[in-house]
């Protein structure tokens, strides 16, 4: 089943001194089942907000999101690990009944040896990798990735891209990937959507032609 995003209007109401902000006014996007879509756009246009809406975390807008599966993996823009749980325990929490997977996943994101570290004692890059592992751990049917490779050095970033790529090949989740780097988008996505403006609109929406799409 395809994912149909149809936002008629999304407003952040005035609150305290924060002024009102009309974020979207008519924004539609349809993702085929298993399609990987890169979402690109300037800082502050509403990429994260859109992901929250797609994930069902923000229902305060007019419009509809159709075809959202129950299994979602969401890499938030900040790691959001539970600080009172070690890296391993954070993964175990989303892997009930399969806790041995936690160690394997941590090794895959290059954190073998740091399994028992509490999040506040991880470097930011390490914490984001744990969060990435968590998003992939649930083998979701809908994968939302908010800048998965930011704050990582080139080599680590490459490794993570390969990891995500492998998972996309394997379980083919419908994916929305926010990124600021065209090469990341080109490497992973079937389609690139650019949003811009205030209220934000889709200013570009084009397919990526590459081997995988032809498979």
């Amino acid at each position: 089943m395809s994912l149909k995003i149809d936002v008629v209007r999304k407003i952040y109401a005035r609150q305290g001194d924060t002024p009102e902000r009309v974020l979207f006014e008519g924004l539609s996007l349809e993702l085929a089942d298993g399609e990987v879509c890169a979402l690109v756009g300037p800082s502050g246009t509403g990429k994260t907000s859109l992901l929250q809406m797609v994930a069902g975390l923000d229902e305060d807008f007019t419009g509809t999101i159709e075809g959202r599966p129950p299994d979602i993996g969401y890499l938030f823009q900040t790691p959001r690990l539970f600080p009172w749980r070690t890296a391993r325990q954070n993964l175990e929490l989303v892997l009930p009944g399969r806790v041995e997977r936690a160690g394997e996943l941590l090794a895959e994101v290059g954190l073998a040896g740091s399994e028992d570290v509490y999040p506040q004692r991880l470097s930011l890059g390490m914490a984001r990798r744990v969060a990435l592992a968590r998003a992939l751990a649930v083998e979701p049917k809908l994968l939302l990735l908010d800048e998965p490779f930011a704050s990582l050095d080139t080599a680590t970033s490459k490794g993570m891209q390969d990891l995500v790529s492998a998972q996309l090949q394997r379980s083919r989740p419908t994916t929305l990937l926010v990124t600021h780097h065209w090469h990341e988008a080109a490497a992973l996505a079937d389609r690139i959507v650019v949003i811009d403006g205030s209220p934000a609109r889709i200013v570009e929406n084009r397919a990526v032609l590459r081997p995988r799409a032809a498979e």
Binding site: Q52, L57, F76, F82, P83, R85, L93, Y118, Q120
Partner: protein, 253 residues
């Protein structure tokens, strides 16, 4: 883990500190030399005597049981109420004035009404103490619930944690400092209320004894009973609150 427990535990400082307290008390009592300010020695001898006669253990046990039961009731109800009010702003708007009223009705009024309505029975005591303490817990935990991080709640939602898991893994750890504060204050407050409730209408318990000795102005025995309870609390502190506290300290930067 063992090393950590030793390092961050109450440890030797706690014991030395209590000894120091007793020394200071002894010296000031000597210096005051008044029968209205007995030193630790005479208090201890009264204490031992009361223990020997079996009076103190009896009354202390009864009071401890009452405190324990009321504590559990008040903490569970208060925490649940506090979390609900903290999360549901609409409900809070309606119930907040009631909470403030209940919070500020003098203990003695609640006690009189419950005693008059339920009679001088054990249930009346529990109801009176709970009604006195629940709003305090609720007010503290409500602040805690309001300060809950939405970020974590969203993670729990996305990964579809079962409600029990959400409570245990997401909510309780964030509320821990509020629970500790409410717990420590709660124990002290409940004990003080139980004393008042006992002295107004029960025929046993520490409060009842205190009142009797107060009538005779036997300050030594009054302090002996107080000391016995404080000792119990120090043990509870060691066995319950201190380990909880250490668990929080483990993950903080």
């Amino acid at each position: 883990m063992r090393t950590v427990d030793l390092r961050s535990g109450a440890g030797w400082q706690g014991i030395v500190s209590i000894l120091l307290f007793i020394c200071l008390w002894h010296i000031s009592a000597l210096w005051a030399g008044s029968r209205l300010f007995p030193g630790p020695v005479s208090v201890l001898s009264s204490l031992l005597q009361e223990i020997e006669e079996g009076v103190l253990p009896y009354h202390l046990a009864i009071t401890l049981a009452r405190v324990a039961l009321s504590f559990v009731i008040a903490m569970v109800t208060g925490t649940a109420l506090g979390i609900v009010l903290g999360r549901f702003r609409g409900l809070d708007r309606w119930l907040h004035p009631w909470l403030i009223i209940l919070l500020n009705v003098p203990a003695v009024v609640i006690i009189i009404l419950t005693y008059v309505w339920l009679g001088l029975v054990e249930t009346a005591l529990l109801v009176a103490v709970a009604a006195n303490k629940i709003p305090n817990v609720a007010v503290t935990l409500r602040e805690g619930a309001r300060a809950l991080d939405k970020d974590f709640a969203e993670v729990a939602q996305i990964y579809r944690f079962r409600p029990a898991v959400t409570v245990r893994e997401v909510i309780i750890p964030q509320l821990a400092p509020y629970l500790l504060a409410a717990g420590r204050n709660g124990l002290a407050l409940i004990w003080k209320i139980v004393l008042v409730v006992e002295l107004l209408g029960r025929s046993n318990g520490v409060g009842f004894q205190l009142q009797s000795y107060f009538q005779l102005f036997d300050v030594t025995r009054i302090i002996a009973y107080a000391a016995a309870f404080v000792l119990c609390v120090l043990l509870i502190e060691l066995a319950l609150f201190a380990p909880l506290e250490r668990r929080i300290e483990r993950w903080r930067r």
